[in-house]
Amino acid sequence: MLYTLSYEKSTTTDRRKMEISFRKINEILWHTLYSIGVNVKLLIDRPDGTYCFREYRGRVFYMSEKILKLAENVGANNLVSVGTCIGKFTKTGKFNLTVTCLALLAPYAQYKIWVKPSAEQQFLYGHHVLKSGLGRITENTPQYQGVVVFSMSDVPLGLGISAKSTAECKHADPLTTICFHVCDIGEYIRNEDALVS
């Protein structure tokens, strides 16, 4: 939990501010569903405790109930980050997954794409995955499906959206885009200061 030093304590309005609306949680769950499929249920129905979502400054955080209780002592203006940031709401109310959720979602991934070592860097620089860089792909991946991108040594590199279904991949040109880039772990360096605040 990160917070700026201050004597300000959280108020009821602060708690209200962080509470997440039904519509928004719906949006979040749909998006995670796109990325990890039915496994999204496991994020909420966890055996090791109660986990919940909170929104703050447009960012959605996923945290255990214990951490939430601690965080509620901190005024909303001073809270920088709590739990895992899984994404953010745009000003128009759309939800985007951010790279910080990768560690959370990667183990549950339903559709995966493995990238060749030669194409890893391209992806980590924020480019789409081309056919030439495609190492493996999960069978039956539909088109425009949220996927988790792995390196050949099974290290999660980021999230993407399949631009072609598995069947289409087979006959595609080497320069066609197979997977659209959504986020990648290169952002931890490229986009460091925008990740949390």
């Binding site: 209200r16 719906n26 769950l29 569903l33 939430l68 069947a167 087979k170 040109d173």
Partner: protein, 480 residues
């Protein structure tokens, strides 16, 4: 000026008249009775016979009341005086009986006196690692020394009381260093002007909002020139101020006659005309002042055309400007309520419908009219929000949402089904190929050709769970 002590006072406690001390006054008096008192130190007035005589008696009384040990804490003005007078006068000391005018005795006497001096000073001198900060003008002493946390915890009252006494003593010592005079039987010290700046009670005033001219001048960098108050008038041959009754008087004096111009109407009264022009200028100035006020306070003011006066939107002849259609040209500025847009009109309709005794319940409605909630437009009581969910409830709610989502998702994904079908077909074909040893060579050749055509990249791609190219080598990927 502060009154230091009263001659008639029974105890030698400083009784200041200033507010700063009024709170601690009672505690000071109490201290005096129980333990030490705030001693007055070396009074510059100790030679004053009047004071001495009175105090002597008091001292004696005190000694009778208190035990002998206590006496050391108190000021002994009488002893001081005795010493000053050359050992001739002692009020209550045992040593006084032994004094004889021998050499040894004189030395002894001197030593004793020194000891006494030290003892006396003990009560008025307070040792502090750091000097206090004083502002005698406000009778303020600030102790920046660290507090003894152990003592403070163990015997809070005692410790604080002692600390207060010591600090007050130090302050009083400093007061005695000031020039002291006597006025109407009272010892009075002249305090220096206060130097400590008390923090202000109210927040600092906000800067005044600039007028339109001030803002303009600021942007343009126009600076106000200093102008002398008066100005030399050639016709009157005297100095005339720029404003005020003298200026008006001079103006009247100066322009008792106005030359009629040729192109002017001879029947018009030029004096009346001028008075009117002046009035108009005053009115304009007043209007601009009001505008500035309105701008400063964010108040909307009606447009000029509703006021009926002003130059804007009118041509040179003073008639309103017209567009091609012959309508008056709309001008810049604030909107008037007579030109509301559709949403404003709808709001107005909603509010007026709502403003009945039955809160708009029985108002007739247009066939396609939507019901508009007035709550957003009027300051009606806000809706109460649902209470906070407990984590367990929240989890259940979230699970419900997920179940709902999963339910909504189409069971049969057409694309997926098609893909699966294609996949199965390909598998089948691959199996057939591998089962036909005869056609192996041909198949291989075709596979190679394909690889060449499509480029190097394709050949390396391994589709998980599918037959590899040509050879039927299967690499199983992760299947969910």
């Amino acid at each position: 000026m502060v009154k230091i002590s009263e001659v008639e006072e029974e105890e030698h406690v400083l009784k200041p008249t200033s507010n700063e001390f009024s709170g601690s006054e009672s505690s000071c008096a109490k201290m005096n009775k129980n333990e030490g008192i705030v001693a007055l130190g070396d009074s510059p007035l100790k030679n004053d016979e009047n004071v001495d005589n009175d105090e002597e008696e008091d001292d004696d009384d005190d000694h009778d009341d208190n035990s002998v040990e206590d006496s050391s804490d108190e000021i002994d003005t009488s002893n001081e005086d005795a010493m000053e007078d050359g050992d001739s006068y002692y009020s209550d000391n045992e040593e006084s009986e032994q004094i004889k005018p021998t050499g040894m005795d004189i030395v002894k006497n001197v030593l004793e006196r020194a000891a006494k001096e030290a003892e006396k000073n003990e009560s008025i001198s307070v040792a502090k690692p750091l000097d206090l900060e004083y502002d005698l003008g406000t009778l303020l002493a600030i102790d920046t020394n660290e507090m003894d946390s152990d003592l403070l915890r163990d015997s809070t009252e005692e410790y604080l009381k002692n600390l207060a006494r010591d600090n007050t003593q130090l302050l009083v010592n400093h007061i005695w260093e000031l020039p002291i005079t006597r006025k109407e039987n009272e010892i009075v010290a002249k305090l220096p002007p206060p130097s400590f700046r008390l923090p202000r009670e109210k927040p600092a005033p906000k800067p005044k909002p600039l007028t339109k001219w001030q803002q303009f001048a600021l942007e343009k960098g126009i600076q106000k020139k200093k102008r002398p108050k008066v100005q030399w008038d050639e016709t009157l041959q005297k100095w005339i101020p720029w404003w005020g009754y003298k200026r008006t008087k001079a103006e009247r004096e100066k322009s008792w006659v106005i030359e009629a111009k040729q192109n002017e109407d001879p029947m018009e009264d030029p004096f009346a005309k001028r008075a009117e022009a002046k009035q108009e200028r005053v009115a304009k100035n007043e209007l601009q002042r009001m505008r500035n006020l309105a701008r400063a306070n964010n108040v909307k003011i009606p447009r000029e055309d509703t006021l009926g006066e002003g130059k804007k939107g009118k041509n040179k002849k003073g008639q309103p400007k017209l567009n091609k259609k012959g309508e008056p040209v709309p001008r810049m500025g604030l909107l008037t309520p007579d030109k509301m847009n559709s949403s404003q009109l709808k709001q107005a309709v909603a509010v007026s419908k709502f403003s009945t005794a039955s809160v708009g319940k029985f108002q007739s409605r247009l066939p396609k009219e939507k019901e508009r909630s007035v709550g957003a437009l009027l300051p009606i009581a806000k809706k109460r929000r649902a209470p906070f969910l407990k984590p367990e409830e929240e989890r259940k709610a979230n699970l419900d949402i997920i179940d709902n989502i999963l339910k909504k998702r189409p069971k049969l994904d057409l694309e997926k089904a098609v893909n699966r079908h294609i996949n199965q077909e390909e598998k089948q074909r691959a199996e057939e190929k591998s089962q036909k040893p005869k056609g192996k060579g041909r198949e291989k050749a075709r596979g190679k050709g394909k690889g060449n055509r499509k480029g190097k990249g394709l050949g390396k791609v391994k589709m998980s769970g599918k037959g590899g190219k040509g050879g039927g080598k299967q690499k199983r990927g992760k299947k969910r």
